[in-house]
């Protein structure tokens, strides 16, 4: 492609003009990135922290529905995180399921660690629910092991921090109901509750049909961290699996793909082995590409490129490496877009000039 474009620049003057403009634009972009670097770093660190907050709420919502959890007597089971994510579809955060001969129930939940614009949160939840409804056959067959013709009651939950549940209920009512709001405590004792809507909404499907579940969901004891990685986790949080999986070798911490897979196997217990293997390989590849680790033929394993085995320090290094790499990629992308835009401008000009003899100066 580059060669083709170079051939288009038919004169020395034209090539010079193009090079000058491109170089200037690239310099400006680099200067802008350098100027904003601190802000970019802060934004990325905040995004990691927001993702951790989201993960806390997600854990709070599903932990009570594990086999020994406080809601286990309700017979609802935590089946998986990020259902449909492996198909590349917009997805909810969790799937709960209650087996029943006549009408089994699936609860799809969306979690929000912080809510800046509740209207967009509710809208997004509805869109994701629609995707799930469109793929109900997959949910039945692949996740719940139900025949496709089997009836299934689908309920939708939006879980938000305790302080924002009233706002969420208000917006759900305004937009027609059909979403059940849960509130999760971000601080203090880890617990979840159903947020009760006003009485007049009784026909708006904002409570679970199962009365026992509504009763049980009152300060149900939970746990904010029992799963560290979900299928849709932030790439940096996935990379921390490297530090979990590593062990001391002859020259620093080392790890293998198998160890990463084992370290992830509890977190992603509901995913196929092939998915976990692929995720492990991706994590290792990413760890190498950002320069955090390298293959060590001597050890027959990957080696974390750092002095010392202090994992707290290694985590800081990993974060720095990931952020550097992310900013570099953003910069490359921005430069590539700008470069393409300049090329496009020249293509248009050249085409125009070809129509007008002696046009380009």
């Amino acid at each position: 492609m580059t060669e083709d474009f170079d051939n288009l620049l038919y004169s020395k003057e034209l090539k010079h003009a193009y090079d000058t403009e491109t170089n200037k634009a690239m310099r400006e972009i680099e200067n802008e990135f350098n100027k904003n670097r601190e802000h970019l770093i802060k934004t990325l660190k905040n995004s990691i922290d927001s993702e951790r907050q989201h993960r806390d709420i997600l854990n709070s919502c599903v932990y009570p529905f594990t086999e020994r959890g406080s809601m286990s007597s309700s017979q609802y089971k935590f089946v998986r995180g990020s259902p449909l994510a492996e198909l590349g579809l917009a997805n909810m955060d969790f799937l709960l399921y209650k087996k029943h001969d006549k009408l089994p129930v699936a609860i799809l939940g969306e979690c929000k660690g912080s809510v800046s614009r509740i209207s967009s949160v509710v809208e997004e939840t509805r869109k994701r629910l629609k995707v799930a409804e469109d793929n109900i056959a997959t949910i039945k067959e692949s996740y719940l092991h139900l025949p496709p013709e089997n009836d299934l009651l689908l309920e939708c939950v939006l879980a938000v921090p305790s302080g924002t549940s009233d706002e969420a209920i208000g917006k759900v009512i305004d937009t027609g109901g059909g979403i059940i709001v849960w509130k999760a405590a971000l601080t203090g004792d880890p617990e979840i509750s159903i947020a009760h809507p006003p009485r007049f909404t009784h026909a708006m499907n904002m409570m679970h049909r199962d009365k026992g579940l509504n009763v049980g969901l009152k300060n149900a004891p939970s746990n904010r961290r029992f799963l560290s990685v979900f299928p849709q986790s932030h790439p940096y949080l996935e990379l921390t699996s490297i530090i979990r999986a590593a062990w001391p070798g002859d020259s620093g911490l080392v790890l293998t793909e198998d160890e990463v897979r084992l370290a992830l196997s509890k977190d992603l217990f509901y995913m196929e082995d092939s998915y976990v293997r692929q995720k492990s390989a991706e994590i290792l590849s990413s760890g190498v590409s950002i320069g955090f680790m390298e293959w060590s033929p001597k050890e027959g394993a990957y080696r974390i490129v750092a002095r010392g085995n202090n994992r707290g320090q290694l985590e800081l290094r990993l974060e720095d490496k990931w952020i550097d790499d992310h900013i570099r990629r953003q910069l490359e992308q921005r430069k590539s877009e700008e470069s393409e835009s300049i090329k496009e401008k020249y293509r248009k000009e050249i085409t125009k000039q070809k129509r007008v003899p002696n046009g380009w100066k």
Partner: protein, 369 residues
């Protein structure tokens, strides 16, 4: 230490030690202490994990251990032959009760560390028997009261800023050794003023009997006598149930996957809980805890201020075990994740007791479930 190879019950072994103490020490040019290390083990597989077959000789209920020069699990390849004892140290191990082993030796601490200590530190499912401050006190004070003797030396330390009350410069970490006939009174005064907890106590139990007790499960006697062994076992029996209960509790923490009839794979978590009784965890205490946790790393932490909340992954650097924690002001929930082994939880609990709250309790998060 030398004991003739023959079949012993534990009782017979003790009788031999008492009746033939000169023989036991015969190999030792310098007069040594008889040491009994208390070890907690998770299962019956400890022999295979700790020792090579050629290191063990079975003598009835007692195992004789002659550690090879390159012990299992040791990364020491530079053993200093000049300094090593020409006569290799021997260790004798017996099961006192399920989960609790006693290891007898006259080896000094350096030799023990070289031969077995570091091996035990790294071996999964085996650990020296740490005693909580209250249980340690029960042990040594019980021995002291029964024998009518006195303490003449102690080592005490303050490993954190918060765990123990302190009048003078509570922000300082400190460690002190004290020698004197008034060691008990001094210990009490030091505890009140400087907030230190005893770790090692030397007792003059009677005119001829000196004892040495450490909070990591070492009992040592300068003379091998029936009195020394009686004192130790009587008071070990007083605390062993509490220790084994804690050990058993830590063994129940797990994260299992169960497949139900319809084919769904489900998570079953038996989380542990450290309940704080006298102190609250907050961001300042967490920051100090993070800096002071010996042998642990904390990664992937998320902290909410205000009403305190912390989630994180903890890694035991000695055993490479990985578990998640979720903490509030009053409790820390523990979820085993990867390569976990129960002594990691006990050691983490020990760190919390020593750095945050000496009255913290370890239990299952949901014992009724």
């Amino acid at each position: 230490m030398r004991v003739p190879d023959r079949v012993y019950s534990l009782k017979e072994f003790h009788r031999y030690l008492v009746d033939q103490s000169d023989e036991v020490f015969a190999d030792d040019k310098r007069k040594r202490w008889l040491k009994i290390y208390c070890l907690l083990v998770s299962d019956q597989g400890w022999q295979d994990r700790l020792f090579a077959a050629n290191e063990i000789t079975r003598l009835g209920e007692v195992l004789k251990i002659e550690p090879s020069t390159t012990p299992i699990g040791s990364d020491d390849s530079d053993s200093d032959l000049e300094n090593s004892n020409p006569e290799p140290e021997r260790y004798y191990i017996a099961e006192y009760c399920p989960g609790l082993l006693l290891m007898y030796t006259t080896a000094n601490n350096d030799e023990y560390q070289k031969d077995l200590g570091r091996r035990i530190d790294r071996c999964r499912g085996v650990t020296q028997m740490w005693m909580k401050p209250d249980l340690f006190e029960t042990l040594w004070k019980g021995i002291l009261e029964r024998s009518g003797g006195y303490a003449y030396f102690f080592t005490a330390s303050r490993s954190s800023f918060d765990a123990v009350r302190c009048k003078i410069r509570p922000e300082c970490k400190r460690r002190l050794n004290y020698t004197g006939r008034d060691a008990i009174q001094t210990m009490q005064e030091m505890q009140e003023s400087y907030g230190v907890l005893p770790e090692i106590v030397y007792l003059q139990a009677d005119q001829d009997l000196k004892l040495h007790i450490r909070n990591d499960g070492l009992f040592a006697a300068r003379e091998i006598s029936a009195n020394a062994l009686n004192l130790f076992f009587t008071h070990l029996d007083e605390i062993k149930e509490d220790i084994l209960r804690m050990w058993k509790t830590s063994n129940q923490f797990n994260f299992e996957l169960v497949r139900e009839a319809a084919g769904l794979q489900l998570a079953s978590v038996n989380a542990g809980r450290i309940k704080l009784n006298a102190k609250e965890l907050d961001s300042v205490a967490f920051s100090r805890m993070k800096d002071n946790l010996e042998g642990f790393s904390i990664i992937d932490a998320h902290l909410e201020t205000g009403s305190f909340s912390l989630t994180a992954t903890v890694i035991d650097e000695r055993k490479n075990s990985v578990f998640d924690i979720s903490a509030t002001e009053s409790q820390i929930l523990i979820v085993p994740k990867f390569r976990t082994t129960q002594e990691s939880f006990i050691r983490f609990y020990k760190e919390i007791v020593e750095t945050i709250d000496e009255s913290a309790e370890l239990s299952l998060a949901n014992p009724l479930a």
